[in-house]
């Protein structure tokens, strides 16, 4: 039977891609094989469009990094202790069904962590929606937060941070990114390799249904068209089963009888069987009849593509099968042997005794690479040369400050944070609300700090500099709490890469991130690319979101943003320039998103951060906060609000710096609000200052 073009097109494959499949396997694929190729070679799973550039990102840094080809990467933060982390997007599913989309986003990224043998210890959720006065944006925001709360709280993994940004370009395509962090003894990191001929291949967790067939992978590999029928692609989350899966998987790994383990995210059984085989230089022979299902009459290709949640694939040691199966049964989970590892590198899928797919695992796992054209967009020249010296000074600085503090991009995220259990596991030393969250590692002096940051506006105005500013800000957030930045994960949210101006944004951001990571000595240990974040009416700002983990030598030596006592001296580190481009002020007070983002001198930035870090570590600083959105004025106000004290500041420090502050901050009429992105410390009075 010859294949109709409609068949592969419906699966999201271009004609050229189909031809390529025929060339590579030397024959027409069976329907099941075609489905398998369509998911493995999709952008979502195979990264064919982004891989060439991702190679630029550094894999090594000042802390021992652990990166290679697993689900998540990490860094060794203390002798023998590795922290694994990764961020992922669930943008399209959340736009379609915000509650389930966000919930399954949490579920998916958590699986990436425990599949490597790490216990998940924290989640962060950087979120971006349209302007809050849009009813749709409000609805999506509310439901996304509820979805994260529903799933994360039930798992008992604290949500300790994130971001909330509201801007028109995200109105048709929200960004729901989730970062997860786990802890594991370095020598116990599990692999996802299938090795050892004859070893049993076991599917565990939920049964397989038709939900989400072609969901994440197909959905994430296209723009949103108007009125598209997206129903079949929605996945439903079951956090209770996931919680049991975490416990059962970690318990099973502890026995030593597990050879390899991999979570089923997008593309379910296809992805796990093919990638575990390819990674282990082996093959697999599986029988679909054995797969527990929740609907009768499922076709082989449906089983292979289903994105039913809360499932894992596991390869156990021959002869110790029962031990492993027993652990999953104890936790009330399905666990069924569906096949065996083979030595010939072929993935064979059988159904009712019939061979429905027979492919070399490596071929399937190795999608072609596309080098897409990049082209500087028209707007770029224009914003670069915008003259901001003509922007009028506001009449009432107090009004400006009040307006900035009321901006949903700046105001506290307490409404969301209180819906998240951010304390469970009793490690949260600094809770959401500070520059970064601080977690203790029980039994160790060291602690970790973690933050997520993004800035679509800066990256839109200048993707190269913007990406660097994002990393600089994330690192600054970490030093403010007293942590040494140690490793990065990224979630790269962009528009349609097949449009050269969008791809240019992507390329410049990745280059900026690569250069800045190198300058800071930070490895990029893991990441995720989300393309096609656009509708016919809106394209999101190019938005790389970074998750950065830092290390505290002594978790007790940390700082928070609130001023601690009247009489303490306030010190502003770094230089202040007239950087107005892309600021929240320019947007709110003048309705403009233009100009160049703030100047960034990486060497100077590193020095400022080193000074701040030392002040916190040596106990000289009573508080520390970085100037970010809203600039110095907002930073001062936030430190006052957090600390419930006022502050008296002058443009130039007075001769005697130990004045008793009596008045609340009042911005001077002559000072121009800037976006100075620098740390602001308060030192204990009496400490020497310079």
């Amino acid at each position: 039977m010859a294949m109709e073009p409609q068949m592969w097109r419906e699966l999201g494959l271009a004609d050229a891609e189909y031809q390529r499949i025929v060339d590579v396997i030397g024959r027409e694929p069976s329907p099941t094989e075609l489905a398998m190729f369509s998911v493995e070679w999709s952008e979502h799973c195979g990264y064919p469009r982004s891989r060439p550039l991702l190679g630029l990102l550094p894999k090594e840094g000042k802390y021992a990094a652990r990166v290679k080809g697993e689900d998540a990467g990490g860094i060794e933060v203390a002798p023998g202790i590795t922290i694994l982390f990764k961020m992922e997007s669930h943008n399209h599913p959340s736009q379609v069904e915000p509650f389930q989309g966000a919930a399954t986003g949490v579920g998916g990224i958590i699986r990436d962590i425990f599949t490597m043998g790490a216990r998940p210890i924290a989640v962060l959720d950087p979120l971006r929606f349209g302007e809050l006065d849009e009813p749709l944006a409000r609805y999506l925001f509310r439901r996304v937060v509820e979805g994260i709360s529903f799933y994360g709280n039930c798992l008992g993994v604290p949500t300790v941070g994130g971001e909330l940004r509201f801007e028109a370009p995200y109105g048709g395509n929200c960004l729901v990114n989730v970062m997860a962090i786990g802890i594991v003894e370095t020598d116990k990191v599990a692999t996802s390799r299938a090795v050892g001929e004859g070893n049993p291949v076991i599917i565990v967790g939920n049964s397989t249904g038709r939900d989400g067939i072609g969901g994440a992978s197909i959905l994430a590999s296209h723009e949103f068209a108007e009125d598209e029928e997206k129903r079949p692609t929605v996945q439903i989350g079951d956090p209770f089963t996931e919680k049991c899966l975490i416990e059962a998987c970690l318990e099973a790994l502890e026995t030593g009888a597990v050879i390899g383990l991999k979570d089923m995210g997008a593309a379910g059984i296809t992805c796990t069987t093919c990638e575990m085989s390819a990674a282990g230089d082996h093959g697999m022979d599986i029988d679909l009849q054995k797969v527990p299902r929740r609907e009768p009459g499922m076709e082989p290709w449906e089983l292979m593509m289903s994105e039913s949640q809360e499932r894992m694939l596991l390869v156990a040691q021959k002869g110790r099968e029962d031990e492993v199966l027993g652990i999953f049964r104890k936790w009330g989970l399905n666990a069924v042997t569906i096949g065996r590892v083979t030595g010939d590198g072929m993935l064979r899928v059988r159904d009712n005794g019939e061979l429905v797919a027979e492919l070399e695992a490596k071929t399937l796992a190795d999608p072609p690479v596309y080098h897409l054209p990049a082209e500087e967009p028209d707007y770029y020249r224009e914003v670069q040369s915008a003259d901001l010296s003509q922007v009028p000074l506001p009449n009432d600085m107090n009004a400006v400050l009040r307006d900035l503090l009321a901006s949903p991009n700046i105001a506290a995220a307490a409404w969301a944070c209180h819906q998240y259990d951010h304390m469970v596991q009793t490690n949260t030393v600094v809770a959401p609300g500070a520059d970064a969250a601080v977690l203790q590692l029980k039994g160790h002096r060291q602690g970790i700090a973690v933050t997520t940051d993004g800035n679509g506006r800066y990256c839109y105005l200048d993707p190269y500099v913007g990406a660097q500013l994002v990393l600089a800000e994330a690192a600054r957030n970490l030093v403010c709490v007293g942590a040494d930045p140690a490793g990065v994960t990224d979630c790269l949210n962009f528009g349609n890469p097949e449009k050269p101006d969008r791809f240019w944004q992507f390329k410049r951001c990745v280059e900026g991130l690569a250069d800045a990571s190198r300058a800071f000595g930070l490895p990029v240990v893991s990441g995720n690319v989300s393309f096609y974040n656009e509708t016919p009416n809106t394209a999101v700002y190019p938005t790389p979101v970074l998750g950065v983990v830092g290390v505290l030598d002594d978790v007790r030596r940390h700082c928070t943003p609130g001023f601690k006592r009247a009489g303490d001296v306030i010190i502003l580190l770094g230089e202040t320039h007239e950087d107005l481009g892309g600021t929240e002020y320019l947007k709110r007070s003048h309705g403009q998103v233009t100009g160049r983002p703030p100047t960034l001198d990486l060497e100077r930035e590193k020095k400022v951060q080193a000074a701040c870090l030392r002040a916190v570590r040596e106990g000289l600083a009573a508080s520390a906060h970085d100037c970010s959105d809203g600039g110095l004025a907002v930073a001062l106000a936030e430190s006052c609000i957090h600390g419930r004290v006022g502050a008296n500041v002058a443009r130039r420090p007075p001769a005697s710096s130990s004045q008793h502050p009596r008045r609340m901050l009042r911005a001077s009429r002559r000072s121009r609000p800037t976006s100075a992105r620098q740390p602001l410390c308060s030192a204990k009075s009496g400490a020497t200052t310079s």
Binding site: E97, Q100, N206, D211, V234, I236, D238, F240, T241, G332
Partner: protein, 81 residues
């Protein structure tokens, strides 16, 4: 014044983890004859202000807009006066 009752259930193709858990619990309690248990929502309300013949259309719209999530749920309703 009319009374309405809306029944909202997860679409049949969608897994109902909650229902499954309740079914298992019933089995453990010895009620082995129970199967296909699914849990949904019921919304009861009083309706006023529209001529009776329009109520049904109005309620249908309310369900689509707010009460149910048509992407994952089915709904049905009855109105009595």
């Amino acid at each position: 014044m009319a009374k309405a009752r809306v029944i909202i259930t997860l679409k049949k193709t969608i897994m109902d983890a909650q229902g499954q858990t309740a079914e298992n619990a019933l089995h453990n309690l010895g009620y082995r004859g129970v199967s296909n248990l699914r849990i949904g929502k019921v919304v009861e309300m009083e309706l006023d202000g529209a001529p009776k013949e329009q109520l049904s259309a109005q309620l249908d719209k309310m369900c689509r807009e707010l009460l149910a999530n048509p992407i994952i749920e089915d709904f049905q309703f009855e109105i009595e006066d």
